[in-house]
Symmetry: C2
C-alpha cells in the first residue's frame, strides 16, 4: 500500500514552510494554564488560535469562562452533510525543570526529525494540524465536504474544569454527528492508531483511626490495635495471589472485549522486556492469564496511590500511630460504574476491618470507562483516511488512563467520539524535551484532510 497524493497534499506540500513557521509562532506562546503569571500568554494563545481559524476560512469566536477562554471555529456551508466537532487544547504543561531541556521549551527547534518544544505534541501541534487540514480544503476547493466546529480549550492541563458546563450551556450550538480528537499517540512509528478505549476511575481514601492520639510504642505496644498494621492487613486483602481483585462483585459487570480486537491487540509489536526496562522494575506483575497490554487496556485495577502513618522522617521514633491513611484507586473498564464500585469497596473494607480501629472509606472522585464504537461510518472513514496517509492499515489500541472530557462529549452531545492521535511513545508530553515527529505532523495533517473527504462522501 502506498500513500495517495491529492490536491490537498499538493497544497500542504507547497506551503509546508509557511505552515511550519506558523506552528512555531504558536509554540512560542508560553500558554501555561497552571500558572497565573502566564494568564496573559494563555489569553494570547486563545486569540492566536481564533486568528488561525479565521485565516483558514472559518468564523471564529473567543468565549470567556470562569477560567481560561474557549475558542470556537465554525464552518457550516455544507447543508445535509455531517457536522464534525474537532476538540483540542491550546494550553500547555509547565516547562519546569528548565535545566533539563536541550533547547529552550518555548523556542521550537527541529533535531533528528522532531519538533522540540513545550506543547509540540500536547496539544498545539495536533490542534494546529487540524486547522491546516481545514485550510487546505477551503483554500484549494473553497468549500469543506462537511460542516465543522472546532472547539479549543485552555484548561486541559488543569483538569478542564469549565469545559463540561460550557458544552452543556452550548449544547445546541455544538450539536454534531461526530467528535474527533487528536491528543493521543500512535502505538509505534509508522503505525497509525485509533484509540478504542479509556479506563474509568473510582478513587478512594481509606482512613484508619485507632487510639485518640499517638502513643508510646513501648508503654502501649502489644495491647492496642496498631492502625498502620490494620491498614496494611486491609490493603493486603484487595488482591489474591494471582493478581485478581477480591472485592466481591468487582468483575460482575466487566464486559469481555470482542475477540477480533483482542486478537489484533495480540499482534501489536510490543516487547514486554523493553516495557519492563522502561519502567525500571525488576519484574512486571499483574493479573494472571492476561498479556501486559490486556492488563493495561482491558482489565480493571486496584492500586495504592499513597500511604501515610506515624513517623516518616529519618531514623527511629517509637510511636504507635493514632491513625493511618491510604489513597486507593480502581481503574475501571466497561461496564463498571464508579458508584457501584464505591458500594462494593466500602462493603469489602467493612467486612475485613479489624476490631479495635475505626475505618472509613471516602470516594474522592470517579469517572466512567469509555469504549469506542468500532463499527460504523466514522470508524470506517478514519481507517481509510489513515491508511491513505500512512500507507498502512491503522491498528486499534487502548489506553489505561482516563480522559473525562471524552465521556462528557459522548454523553452531552450524543455523538460518537473518534480518538486519532499522532504522538509517539517517548514524546515526553509532560516532561522536559517534549517533541512531535515532523513526519507525523505532516502525515497527520494529510490524514485529517482526507478524513473529511471520506466522511463527506
Amino acid at each position: 500500500m502506498t500513500p495517495v497524493t491529492t490536491d490537498l497534499d499538493q497544497f500542504l506540500t507547497a506551503y509546508d514552510e509557511r505552515i511550519r513557521g506558523e506552528l512555531f509562532d504558536f509554540l512560542r506562546i508560553p500558554s501555561v494554564s497552571a500558572r497565573s503569571e502566564h494568564d496573559a500568554d494563555t489569553s494570547r494563545a486563545a486569540e492566536w488560535t481564533a486568528d488561525a481559524l479565521r485565516a483558514a476560512g472559518l468564523d471564529a469566536s473567543v468565549h470567556s469562562t470562569a477560567g481560561h477562554p474557549v475558542v470556537l471555529g465554525e464552518w457550516r456551508g455544507a447543508p445535509g452533510k455531517p457536522t464534525v466537532l474537532i476538540y483540542g487544547h491550546y494550553d500547555v504543561q509547565p516547562a519546569e525543570p528548565l535545566d533539563l531541556w536541550t533547547s529552550p521549551p518555548f523556542e521550537p527547534t527541529i533535531r533528528d526529525g522532531r519538533i522540540y518544544a513545550r506543547g509540540s505534541v500536547d496539544d498545539k501541534g495536533q490542534l494546529f494540524l487540524h486547522v491546516k487540514a481545514l485550510e487546505a480544503h477551503l483554500a484549494v476547493r473553497g468549500v469543506l465536504p462537511i460542516n465543522v466546529i472546532v472547539l479549543a480549550e485552555g484548561e486541559e492541563e488543569v483538569g478542564s474544569e469549565h469545559l463540561e458546563s460550557f458544552i452543556e450551556a452550548n449544547a445546541e450550538r455544538l450539536a454534531c454527528d461526530a467528535v474527533v480528537i487528536s491528543d493521543s499517540a500512535m502505538f509505534a512509528p509508522g503505525l497509525p492508531s485509533i484509540l478504542s478505549s479509556l479506563r474509568g476511575m473510582a478513587y478512594f481514601q481509606i482512613d484508619v483511626q485507632g487510639p485518640a492520639q499517638d502513643l508510646h510504642s513501648g508503654s502501649y505496644g502489644g495491647a492496642v490495635v496498631n492502625p498502620a498494621m490494620a491498614l496494611a492487613r486491609i490493603l493486603a486483602t484487595l488482591h489474591d495471589t494471582e493478581g485478581r481483585i477480591t472485592i466481591k462483585g468487582f468483575y460482575d459487570t466487566v464486559e469481555e472485549w470482542p475477540s477480533a480486537v483482542r486478537e489484533q491487540m495480540g499482534g501489536l509489536p510490543f516487547d514486554e522486556e523493553h516495557f519492563r526496562a522502561e519502567v525500571g522494575a525488576p519484574a512486571l506483575g499483574g493479573e494472571k492469564g492476561h498479556t501486559v497490554l490486556e492488563r493495561l487496556w482491558t482489565r480493571p485495577t486496584c492500586e495504592v496511590n499513597g500511604l501515610l502513618s506515624g513517623y516518616t522522617g529519618e531514623g527511629a521514633k517509637t510511636v504507635l500511630p493514632a491513625k493511618a491513611m491510604a489513597k486507593v484507586s480502581c481503574r475501571l473498564v466497561p461496564n463498571q460504574e464508579p458508584v457501584e464500585i464505591e458500594r462494593l469497596m466500602k462493603a469489602h473494607v467493612e467486612s475485613v476491618a479489624p476490631k479495635g480501629v475505626n475505618v472509613t472509606v471516602t470516594h474522592l472522585h470517579g469517572g466512567r470507562p469509555w469504549r469506542a464504537e468500532l463499527n460504523g461510518p466514522l470508524f470506517d472513514a478514519a481507517r481509510r483516511a489513515l491508511a491513505s496517509a500512512f500507507g498502512r492499515e491503522p491498528v486499534i489500541t487502548g489506553e489505561g488512563g482516563s480522559i473525562p472530557v471524552v465521556g462528557d462529549f459522548a454523553r452531552i452531545l450524543g455523538a460518537p467520539v473518534l480518538l486519532v492521535g499522532f504522538g509517539l511513545p517517548g514524546e515526553n508530553a509532560h516532561a522536559p524535551d517534549e517533541w512531535m515527529s515532523v513526519e507525523n505532523f505532516t502525515k497527520g495533517m494529510r490524514a485529517i484532510a482526507m478524513l473529511w473527504d471520506e466522511l463527506g462522501a
Copy 2:
C-alpha cells in the same frame, strides 16, 4: 502494717519546709537539655546539683562531656560496706506548649497535694529526694551505713548520648555493688512498686522499590507491581489472626516469667476498660491468651511506627509510587537478642517479598531487654524499706518501654540494678502540667533513707 518512724524521719519532718524550698529552687532552673538556648540553664542545674550534694555532706564534682556535664557525688566512709550508685538526671523535657500549663512550668506550685512543675517527677524531684535521704543520714548520724556514688546526668531527655562512654571511661571509680534508680512510677497511689523488667528493641526500616520513578497509575497500572501494595502484603504477614508474630523463630528464646511474678501481676488493681478509655480506641487488641498487663510487660511485639508512599496530600493524585517505606519495631523480652531478631526479620521479609520489587530491611537500632533479679539482698532490702515507708508491701511491676542506660550500668559495672520510682500514673512526665505527689516525695525520701539502713545492716 503501719509506717515506721525513725530518727531520719524526724529530721526530714523537721526540715520539711526547707527541703521543699530547695526542691522548688531546683525546679525553677529551666534545664531543657534539648534546647541550646537553655545550655547555660542546664550547666547551672549541674552546678546546683553538685552544691546540693556538697551541702548534704558528699564530695561533688562536675565532669564536662561532649554534651551536658555529668555530676558525681561521693561518700566513701564506710569501708567494708556495700557501695551503691544512685543514678538520676537533672535535665528536663521542653515545656512547650506553654499555653496548656495551668501554672508556669518553671514556677513550682502546689495544688491538691501535687507539685506542678516541669521536672517535678522526671526526674528532679526523684533525684532530689535521694540527695535529701543522704543528707538525713549524714546530718543526724554523721555517717552513712553504705558507700555512695551519686551520678546525675544532663542528657537523659536527649538520649543519654555521652553516658555510656562516661561510665566506661570511669568504670573503676564507679565500681559498685548495686545501682539504684528512681525515674519511674508506682503502679497506683499508695502502692509502692519495684520495676522488674524493661523490654528491649529492634527497630527496622523496610524499603520497597518498584519502578525507577513514579508512574501514571492509568498508563501503567495493572502491569507493574505496586510497591505500596507489596509493602502492605509484607506487613500483613507479620502476625497471625490471633495476634502472634509469625516470624519464624521469633519466640524461640522467650523465657517464661516465674509463675509467682505472673500471679502477683494478675492481682494488680488494673481495669482494662479504664485503660481502653484512656487510650481512646474502640477496643483493645493483642496476642490471645494473655492479659493486657502481660501483653505490655512480658510479651514481645512487632509494631508499624510509620508508613510513607506516593501521594499523601489532600484529594487525589493518580500515581503508581516508585517506592514505599515502613518503620517497624519489635519490643523484645528476655532472652531475645536484637541481633538475632534482625536476622529473623530479614529472613522473614525476604521469604514473603513479592517479585517485581526490591525490598531492603535496615536495622536502625536495637537494645537488649532487661529483667531484674528478684531475689537477693538488694531486692529484699528494697521491699522492707518500701513497706516501712508506705505501710504496705510493694508490688512487682513491669515496663513495656526501654531504658537503655539500665543495660549499660548492668553490663559495664556488673552490678544489679534496682528500679524503684515514686511517680504516679497520669503524672504528665513529658506533657504540660507535669506533677509529683507531695506524699510520694515525702514517703519516697523516707523509703530511700531506710533502704541504706537495710543495705548497710
